[in-house]
């Protein structure tokens, strides 16, 4: 039988609530737009990372979800950074930034294509930002699917971890299009490694049913 993989930490960011490791915080401020929302969250969490302001919306959201996940979770430090992989999925790829970039080239009399916007017209830049922040060097994959697809996220992770290319993976769903957004990130480890460290109890198994439960009920 295959060794079970376990969720050792997780974080969800939605319009009305932030959930991490079962701690739910309601967002009480009235929602104005994504930019105001994400900036307020960045300040509230007292993250200090000036590069944050240069990121596009997708990277800001995924970056903060990873920050919140790792803030109170020490599991990241239990692994060599080369043995951590990242698999992220969403629905609209980088369309939110594609539309913004397109605005800069639409009008010939007002033509200002910018490299700092263009670079974010690739969804995996989010993975790059998380890797830079956390010095993660392992395998990566950015997948695109109509809806949150737990089976394919698990497949993506297993194709890395079953092959011993990683001992842990950060994975999940980070979607932004205008003011519609949600992020769910999970940090997943192998049971045997966690047992060796004496910490295998109480973790949610990394299965499709559990991911659906996180998505629908948390």
């Amino acid at each position: 039988m295959k060794e079970p993989y376990l969720i050792t930490g997780w974080c969800i960011i939605r319009k009305d609530r932030i959930v991490r490791n079962d701690k739910v915080e309601s967002v009480t401020e009235n929602f104005v737009n994504f930019a105001a929302f994400i900036k307020a969250l960045y300040k509230k969490e007292t993250v200090s990372y000036p590069k944050f302001y240069k990121m596009d919306n997708l990277s800001k959201l995924g970056f903060l979800a990873a920050e919140l996940l790792f803030k109170e979770n020490t599991f990241l430090d239990r692994y060599d950074r080369k043995e951590i992989g990242i698999v992220i999925m969403n629905s609209s790829s980088s369309l939110d930034t594609d539309l913004a970039y397109n605005e800069t080239i639409k009008d010939r009399s007002n033509y200002f294509p910018s490299p700092s916007v263009f670079v974010y017209t690739l969804p995996n830049i989010l993975i790059g930002e998380i890797c830079i922040r956390n010095k993660i060097n392992g395998e990566n994959a950015f997948l695109v699917s109509e809806k949150f697809d737990p089976e394919r996220i698990i497949d993506g992770v297993e194709l890395i971890m079953d092959k011993e290319r990683a001992q842990a993976c950060l994975c999940g769903w980070v979607e932004v299009l205008a003011d519609r957004f949600e992020a769910l990130l999970f940090f997943v480890g192998k049971e045997n490694r966690l047992k060796e460290q004496g910490v295998q109890d109480g973790f949610v198994p990394f299965t499709s049913e559990h991911l659906v439960n996180f998505y629908e009920n948390k």
Partner: protein
Amino acid sequence: MGIVVSESIMTPVYVASDNIVNSMGLSTDEVIHCMESDSTGFRRYDDRSLTPSPLPLSLVNSELLETTFRSILAARHPEIIPGHFTRMEKMFIVSIHDALSKFPADTCGPETLLVISTTKGNIDLLEENKKDFIDPGRIYLWKMADFIGSFFGFANRPLVISNACISGVLALTMAERMIDTGRYKHIVVAGGDILSEFVISGFLSFQALSPQPCRPFDLSRDGLSLGEGCGTVILTSDPGIAAPIMISGSATSNDANHISGPSRTGEELAMAIGEAMKEAVTGAGDISFISAHGTATIYNDEMESKALGIAGLQEVPVNSFKGYWGHTLGAAGVIESIATIRSMKNNRLYRSAGFSEPGVPVPLNVIRKNADASVQNCLKIASGFGGCNAAIVFRKS
């Protein structure tokens, strides 16, 4: 008590069929024929709907694409009018159709998956005049992939991979692993991207484009050249369709250094190369040929030379196929892998077009002339924005 070596229990994953659609042709044979006759696919374009200033580009011949696409459409779906398809979708359909026509097994059952690799898909749908008969929803990569998948009647929803310039190699990597682990028997991997004003203006804003056709690894290289196209590879574990070329190892890594600049040391690409070669049980001396990423930007080619040096591969014959048809983005890893596979099948090494004077810090054995050679194990590498790197090893039985 023996030690179980994981490599020895790998399911062989065969490369059973392929197609290239690019500026040099609509089939792999046509493209290879052009390379044998020493021509390249670049032309100078001064079309203001594409580029604000004249540039060498490698574009697919639109008339040929249209004629070929229409004959496929008439045969498969005479009820649909051609105006319902985008340029990108036509390329995917022409490429996948050709690869399927040379593959003997049925691919409409649950044991087959379509994997689509692309960075921008139908990005030209953002241009307002292009939407007449086309569902604008196909700007979503998954929706474009579903549309292409249903055209061919694939039973499973396609898997879409969008990971910058390593998309194609990553798609082959994931496909090989999905077959190896028994998830699917056959996987059709199709990688494609088109050139539009969106992509060209972006690379221009980066000042990353050369005014001349690109010169990978050359001393005077001054930037990349863009190309468009589509490549399709059909992988199978079916021993009845066993072909001479197999995927024997693969790995990816991240620089964790910069979102748009390559690593200064090349260590992270070297790490992916090392892992892929370890899985393939291949030493540096067993590699006959390397198909490099070779974009012809100063820093990419520098980084790659360092990575190949770290991996002990600096003596191995190497080229960049981008000197023939430019950087085809999400198609690049697939198209360049197919050209590599042809090198293996034909026992031919193809020159690195545009190269004359060595110009990278770690001297490489860049191929100067097409030549016959015994080509056995080959390495294909790629790197991209977001700091991603990928390496894949092909073996000939």
